[in-house]
Every structure is written in C-alpha cells, then in structure tokens.
Symmetry: C2
Subunit: 349 residues, 2 copies
DNA sequence: CTGTTAGCGCATTCAC
DNA sequence: GTGAATGCGCTAACAG
C-alpha cells in the first residue's frame, strides 16, 4: 500500500517550456530558441544567462513542437529485417555514421522478415514524418509500396536490386552473388553442389540466392540441383545442421553445400564435426554474408562478403543529397548504387 | 489570412493535412480526428466517407502534431549497447512484444557500450518526449544520470542491479551470475580457473562478471586469479582466440577459462581446435549469455543463460504500469525486478 | 543582436 | 454524433 503525501507537496507539474526559460533569463522565447540551436548570432552574455536558466530548470528542448513549426523532424526511418543479424547491424551502423553531424538521427524498426510487419512499420514511421525512409529489400505489400510512393520523402531500398524500385536503391544482386559462389565452387572442382535455405520466400534475399544457385548450376550444365528447404527463414544455426543431415541423406553423393547464410553454414559445419564428417574432404561448405563467425570458425568458412557497412554508409550519403534536394525543392533523380560483393575462399571449401 | 491554393491545382505542395481530408469528406477536422482513432463514436456512413477521402489523398496522420496537442507521443526510448548482439536484440524483441497493442512504439538507439554516447542519446531521445526510457546498465555519465532523473518519465535500468538505481530496475547481478559459473567449474573439479575479458570497464557488465570471478575465487580459497584483459570491449571472437593464446602462455597450468561472453568463448574454443588443444581435456572453456552459438558449436559451450527476452518482456510490463501511473498522475513506486540466470553445463567443461 | 506576430497540424474542451 | 474555438511548444519571417 503506497500512501501518497498530502497535496501540499510540490506537484511535479508539466516539464518546463521554453517560455519558462525565457522568463527566467529575461529574454524572449525566440532568443532562447536561437541560443539552443547552433549557428545563430547571440550575445555571449545573453547565451550564458540562457544556459544558466536551462540548467537550473533542467530544460530539454521539445523537438516535436519544434519540428511542427520548422517542418523538419530531424530523423530518418530505417527498417531492417532483424536486429539479431550482424549484417543488418553493420548496415545500420554505416547509416548512422554517414549521418553523423548532419543533425539527422536514425530511427530503427525491425520487420522480422515479414512484409506485413514492414507495412505497419512504414505507416507508423510515416506518422512521425521522417525526412527519408530506408527499407531493406524491394518486396513490399501493395499498400506498403503505395505508402512509400506517396510519402513525399526520399525512399531508399537496400540490400537488393528491385526490378521496379520505388525510387533510390543501394544494394547488389543476391542472385548474382550466389552465382559467383557456385562458379567458385565449380572452379575448385565441385560438381554435385547442394543448396540449403528456408522453406518459404519470406526472406526474399534468401530466395534470390537460391535462384542464383539454380541459374548458375544450369549455366554450368549441372542439371541436378540438390535443394533442401528447411525451417522458417531466417534459418538458424541449428536448422542449418539439421538441413545438412537431410541433404546427406537425400543425396549421399553431394560434394558441397551452399548455405543461405553463414549462420546456417556454421550449423552445418558443426554438425559435420560432431558426426566426424570431414570438411571439406567429404563435403565442402559455403555460407553467405561474411559474418565474423565464418572467419573465426575452424575450419574457416568460404563465403560471400557483401560490404554491409558500406551499404549503410552509401545509403546515408545518398540520403543526405536526397534530403538536401527536397529541402531546396529540387528533388534529385532516382539513383541506383550497386555495392560490391566478393567470394572469400576459406578452408571449408 | 492565409489563402490556400485552389483545390484544383495539382502542384504537389506539402502533404495533405487533416483539413484537406475534412474538406473532401464534407465534415470538420474534429470528426476526421475521431474517425482516425479507434473507440470514438462516429456514424459509420461518416466514417466511410472519411476513409475514402483519406485513401484518395493518401493521407497519413501527423502524429507529431497530435502528440503536441494530446501530450502523448506514443513511444518509449530504449538504449542498448549494441544491435549486433543477440542478447540485446532479444531484449528489444521482448520489450516490443510486451508493448504490442498498447499503442506504444519502441524507438531503439545503440550506445556502442559508451556512456558518453549514451548521454547524447538520452538527450536526443528526451527531446522527442518519449513516455518512458529504458537504458541498459546502471552506469551513466553524471549528466546522463541527471537527465534521466529529471526527465519526468518512468526510467528503467536493465541488465544490471545498480547500487543506486535511478528508479525502476529489471535485471540481475552479473557478478553473482559469474560467481555461480566459477562455483560450477569448481564443483566439476577445476581449480586453476582463468578469466578472459576486455581491457577496460567500458562494458560494465563485463567488468562486473570479472569482479564476480574474483570474488568467487577468493571465497573458494583459490588465491591465484589468472586474468587476461585483451581488446576493447565488447571483445570479438577473434580477440577471444588471441586472449586464450596469451592465457596459455602466461599460465601454462591453467585448467579452465571463463570468457566474458559466448562470442569470445567461441573464439577461444576455435583457437583450441585450430591448435589441437583438447577441450575440455586440456582446458575447459565457459562463456556467458547463452547465445545460439554456444549450444550449436562443437563441442557445445558451457555458459550462463540470462533470459534476455524475459528482461525485455518484464521491462515492457513494468513500463506499461508506470506509464499508466503517470497518466493517472499517480506515479508508481520504484520497483526492482530480478530476473533469473542459470548455469548451462555443456561439453566444453 | 533581439523581439513580435503568426501559424505549424492536431486534440481538448465544451457546445449543440 | 458533430462542430467551433482554443492552445499545445516551438520557429519562420519579418521588424527594429
């Protein structure tokens, strides 16, 4: 039972406003407003008075009121499939870094790889009037896409090369990257190459990688594809292990396994160790994404490095130009920035 | 008197506002406002008219204007050290889940394990007037702490049991959890137990774990601590491997290594495999956090599970009660929720 | 360098 | 069930 003190106690009223500060400092609110932003010309004595008042009152600028007036909210929305994935975390970091000092903050949301959840997030972000929005991938719900198209702010799709982009793109072809990996394994002498991925197209980048695998196999004249679909994307390490077991059961002759991501590749690799299956002698394993785990595991895992941080950084740079364009009422044309990927040959293949 | 451009012009001016919708639907803005929130009583014919106008105009509610008026911003700020850490990602997910349907959104920021960056983030979050703020850990800059104390909103510190909490706490004692791990190893017969962690106290939870290690060793009468500090926290897998090398060089008699997190433990484990050092026969390895990697690696890694998701979920639940209290002008008393941890014995020890 | 005026787009409060 | 007036806290634009 909590007993509240009598009403005579200082009632913690609403937080101080700019006029409280102005009154205390003996100036107008406009002067306070100027003092609190940088760049304005203020007598240093006035500024000091104001800062003292700010400190004493514990005043914190109310940006939501400010942006209503200035039409600048000072943030960009960024939607990623998952936080628990160092690839997207790196992209988020690159984006944040690129926006350093621009006065723009990144507000992150995660979609759980679901375009329905993406749609919800797009809407709730737009309600807060971001100055730009970054999404992962080029596949959206119809309404999500419409929201993006009509948002009236720069839109950047990342991690993909959508056939029909909303506007700007910073990404790479997941299919192509997977093809490169198949060719690499082929060059190393592997022929009976399998693919391990999730059961649905929920992870569109994963689906594209499978597509690339199939295309490359076809192009190399390797008709027999060996595909294991197991688990809801994104598939976990453990699921990677189980999928490998199935792959070996179903096609005992398989020589190499390409996994949809490094995490499942790691799971597959550990399953091999556990069952005393020699990697890469009995079966080679390759992943995707160049997570730290792939360079650090033993044997180290052959993978495709995709420059996640760079995707974020270049997204940020493009964003800044696009926002500048909007502010100057001279929107820039849609741009597509294609980022690098690279097959990293390691011990597992 | 401001003259709005004639409705016939197609100039893509600023995005449509509620009055545009109201005019198009032939009602007042107030009716639109009601129709767009749930629960209000509106004639269904009116609502339909309004929804049609909303659709045609592609109108999206401006929440920043709304919250200026209603004093409810509809979001809570959550600061985590890193996104690229499945533990904190799980906590974020738990928090988000707990807030489902409450009309509150989580806005994430990451501090990079730096309390200076945390301070900046606290301030920029507060400028947007969150309805509550969640921080990770109990250590803040002086100004950061003051900002939290004066924020006038519920504050929850997580992942820790600060000696002097700002207000609410949802966490556990990292030191105690590390002690439990030491006792577990002791019980298994290990005596010469080492500890691998980062070089500074930047990661305060890591520092607490080292403290717990030292305390437990002392309590068990094991005077000789063997501590390797290597790399800026949070230390990586690779650094875990290098640290293990140093540990073995410096104390060749060491029988077990406790690593500050599962990631460094994994790095240490892989280093052993690479160098043909038998785990756990020659040296046992234990981690912290129960990341997926620890259950999936071979050998699987002994660790401490810390219920990350639960920390988030219970933080969310506490948050909802606290915000309810604020809205009813009956602030709830400071609470401390202690979450479970558990030593998970696996093959590596 | 500083103040005044006039909204930003919405929700609250009270009418009807 | 709906509308009118009013103000949330701040800043743009201009005046001085």
């Amino acid at each position: 039972m909590v007993v509240r003190p009598a009403a005579t106690t200082v009632v913690k009223a609403s937080p101080p406003t700019m006029s409280d500060v102005a009154r205390k400092a003996g100036v107008s609110t406009m002067t306070v407003s100027r003092a609190l932003r940088d760049g304005a010309s203020i007598a240093s004595s006035t500024r000091e008075k104001i800062m003292r008042a700010v400190d004493e009152l514990g005043y914190v600028l109310d940006q939501s009121a400010g942006s209503l007036s200035s039409k600048r909210t000072g943030f960009v929305a960024a939607l990623v499939p998952s936080l628990n994935n160092s690839n997207f975390a790196d992209t988020a970091r690159g984006l944040t870094d690129a926006l350093q000092g621009s006065g723009l903050q990144v507000l992150l949301g995660y979609t759980d790889y679901l375009i329905e959840k993406e749609e919800e997030l797009i809407e709730s972000m737009l309600r807060r009037r971001p100055e730009a929005i970054v999404v992962t991938g080029g596949r959206h719900t119809a309404r999500g896409r419409k929201l993006l198209e009509n948002a009236g702010i720069p839109v950047i799709e990342t991690w993909d090369l959508p056939p029909r982009p909303v506007r700007h793109v910073v990404g790479f072809s997941n299919a192509e990257a997977a093809e490169a990996l198949v060719r690499h394994l082929h060059q190393k002498g592997y022929r009976k190459i399998g693919f391990i991925g999730g059961t649905s197209n929920r992870d569109t980048r994963g689906a594209d990688r499978r597509l690339g695998y199939e295309r490359a196999m076809g192009a190399l004249g390797l008709k027999d594809t060996r595909i294991i679909s197991f688990g809801t994307p994104p598939i976990s390490m453990k699921q990677g292990g189980e999928a490998l077991t199935r792959l070996l059961e179903q096609w005992p002759d398989v020589e190499a396994a390409i996994c949809v991501s490094d995490l499942s590749a790691f799971g597959a690799l550990m399953e091999c160790r556990r069952r005393n299956i020699a990697v890469p002698e009995r079966i080679a394993i390759a992943g995707f994404g160049d997570f730290e785990i792939s360079s650090c595991s033993y044997p180290a895992i052959t993978t495709v490095s995709v420059n996640c941080y760079d995707i974020g950084r270049r997204t940020g740079e493009l964003l800044l130009r696009a926002i500048e364009g909007e502010r100057a009422r001279k929107p820039i044309a849609g741009e597509t920035v294609i980022t690098d990927y690279e097959v990293i040959a390691r011990e597992s293949a």
